[in-house]
Structure formats: C-alpha cells, structure tokens
C-alpha cells in the first residue's frame, strides 16, 4: 500500500512543483516505486519540470472521465525505472476533477506504487483541496517570507480539518515543513527569517532546508529534477529530505550558496 503525500503551500511560486519532481525522483533513485501527479488542472507544469512534456497523450482527467485507462495516461520516466508521471489536463474544465474520480485513481495507484506524490495547485480552491484530501502526509513548502509563512499556516489548518483523515477522525495528516530558497547570507544580515523563527511560528517537524540556488532554474530549463544533479547544494538538500521522508534520522545541514568551479560547470553543461 502506497503512502499518499501532498506537496502543498497555499502560496504560489514557492517551489511545489520543483519539490514534487525532486522528491519523486529522489524516492525512485532509492528504489521506491513512485508516481507524481499534477493536480493543477488547466495549468499543467509538472510534465515540463519532469522533462516528459512531449510524451503526454492522455491525462488525469481523461482517466477520471473514463476516456483512458490509468496505464495509458501514466508516463514512465526514461531515467528512473521506478518513476512515473500522471500529467493533468491543460484544457478541460476544473470541475472535471471530482472527489470520487480522484479517489478511484488514487486507490488504483496505491496498489502499484510505494509513494504517490500529489502536486497541489496554489490557493485553497477545489484542486488544492482534492490534492490534500486523501493524503497520509503533507510536505508544506514554505519560503522564508511573511506571505508564504502565513499561507502555510492556513494550509496547516486545512490539513487538520478538511481532509479525509480529519473527517473520519483518523490519525491526522502528518505535516512536514520544507523550507525553500533559504539564503544563509541574508539570514546572517538579518534580512531573512531564520529557520528557527519559522519553526517556532509553524511548529511542525522540519523535513529539509533547500538553499537558494541557480541550479533549480537550470534544472527546470532542461527538465531534470534537481535532485539528479548531485553536485548542486539544492540537489543534495533534496536528497537529504528524501531520506527523512523515508524515515531515516539524518543530521540537518544548512547548505550555503554554491560556488561552482569551472570543472563542475562544464560537467553540468554536458549532463
């Protein structure tokens, strides 16, 4: 039985899709059968970040509406055999996403995978609600910035009240904080909230600290999950987060900005 994990944040642009791709690829690298699902109906993007945008034939909505089988819509990653992508629809109406439809697809995926990672859209509307509704665990992606922290707090409230686990009175959805775009230099200058400050405010366990890094953009440019770039600090930080997600106890590293040497730069360019 797979674990269902939602990647959520409330606020847009904080790194949900980057995180979905990175954690999904990281889990697959560690031998876990993993599927990543895009819940952002109408604004499909996970396929690009995963580098499989030209292979989309059928999508999540087609499966829900019975126009395609799940196996036809799943795209197997070409780099990692344990990784699959379920893209969302780029054109259809948002209302096509129904609770019953989502439940049916997730139940089917639960049997074939170890991890089902749901990439939530921004906001707290239907797509975001359904992405979190069936979750066992939640990764709340947060930037060290006031509006992001506020929205994360709001999302934590929703996770504890508007999910299936909450409604059935089961164990609550287990939240994890993933702090992204963290900049040690700005923290030292007092221009950015410290990780301790944000933990004190949100009081949920810390999954990882992803440093601000140019590699995140270059990884998305080429459609490679950033965790696959081992020489980058962001990739290393995501790899640590994957280990913690799998239940390993590893020391929290706060990685600084990257100083890439010429050799590394060349290597990355040819990758």
């Amino acid at each position: 039985m797979a674990k269902i994990i939602v990647i959520t944040s409330g606020k847009g642009g904080v790194g949900k899709t980057t995180t979905t791709a990175a954690l999904g690829a990281g889990l697959a690298l560690r031998g876990k059968r993993t599927v990543v699902i895009d819940f952002d109906v109408g604004l499909r993007n996970l396929d690009m970040i995963m580098g499989c945008e030209r292979r989309v034939v059928f999508d999540f909505i087609n499966v829900i509406q019975g126009d395609a089988k799940l196996g036809q819509a799943l795209i197997k990653d070409r780099r990692l055999e344990n990784l699959s992508v379920l893209p969302t629809s780029q054109t259809r109406d948002k209302d096509a996403l129904t609770r019953e439809g989502v439940e049916k697809v997730l139940e089917e995926l639960r049997n074939d995978f170890d991890y089902v990672i749901c990439d939530s859209p921004a906001g707290i509307e239907r797509g975001a609600h359904l992405a979190m509704y069936f979750a066992d665990e939640a990764v709340v992606v947060t930037n060290p910035e006031v509006s992001s922290v506020r929205d994360s707090d709001r999302v934590l409230g929703l996770l504890s009240s508007k999910t299936r686990r909450a409604e059935l009175g089961e164990d609550p959805v287990k939240p994890h904080l993933l702090l992204t775009r963290y900049d040690l230099g700005r923290v030292a200058r007092g221009d950015m909230m410290k990780v301790e400050d944000i933990l004190e405010i949100l009081s949920i366990p810390l999954l990882g600290i992803i440093p601000e890094s140019p590699t995140v953009l270059s990884a998305s440019n080429v459609g490679t999950p950033v965790v696959l770039n081992e020489s980058s600090n962001a990739g290393a930080a995501y790899a640590d987060a994957v280990s913690r997600l799998m239940g390993e106890q590893i020391e929290m590293r706060v990685l600084g900005p990257e100083r890439r040497g010429l050799l590394q730069r060349l290597r990355w360019r040819t990758a």
Partner: protein, 102 residues
Amino acid sequence: MTLFGLFRRSSNPSSAQTAKDRLQILLAYERQDRSRPDYLPLLHKEILEVIRKYVPVASEKVRVKHQRGDQISTLEIEIELPGPRAPVAAPAAATPKSAFAR
C-alpha cells in the same frame, strides 16, 4: 558587521525580526478565528431570524461566542433586546449586515 553595526541593531530591529513579530501577532489572531466551528455564522443568522419574528433587533445585538476547551466547549449567546424607552427600530426585514460574515 562592525562595532557600528552592533549599535545600530540594538536600536533598530532587523527586518527579519519585524517579520517574525508581525507573523506571530497576526497568526495568533487568525488561528483563533479558524478554531470557530463552521456553523456559527449560520446559527447567528437563524437565531436572529427567529427573534425578529417577535422583536425587532439589529444583527449586532445578537452575539454568539464560542470558547473551546479540552473537555468541553461553551457556546454563549447574548441577545440584547430593546428596552421600553428605546426608539423604534427599523423594519425587521432588513438584510443581514456584515456582522454575519465574520
């Protein structure tokens, strides 16, 4: 950061500290609001409708307060009725005011 920096910091808190302080104040308030049960606004509205069948009251004269405890929660409903010398209130059919929304 030099000696100067130290002095400056003591008189002028960093923007990160300001961010933290603002969030703590705001979220304490927002979390309180969130712990209110969903049915409160509707309960308020219906109570008001029932009372208005008999007595004209303004929406802000009905106060519904919910307090959450570990063992029990309490619901306190306070209704202020007009006294004998109060000026006659406006027609009761007035649309509910913003007090419901909160």
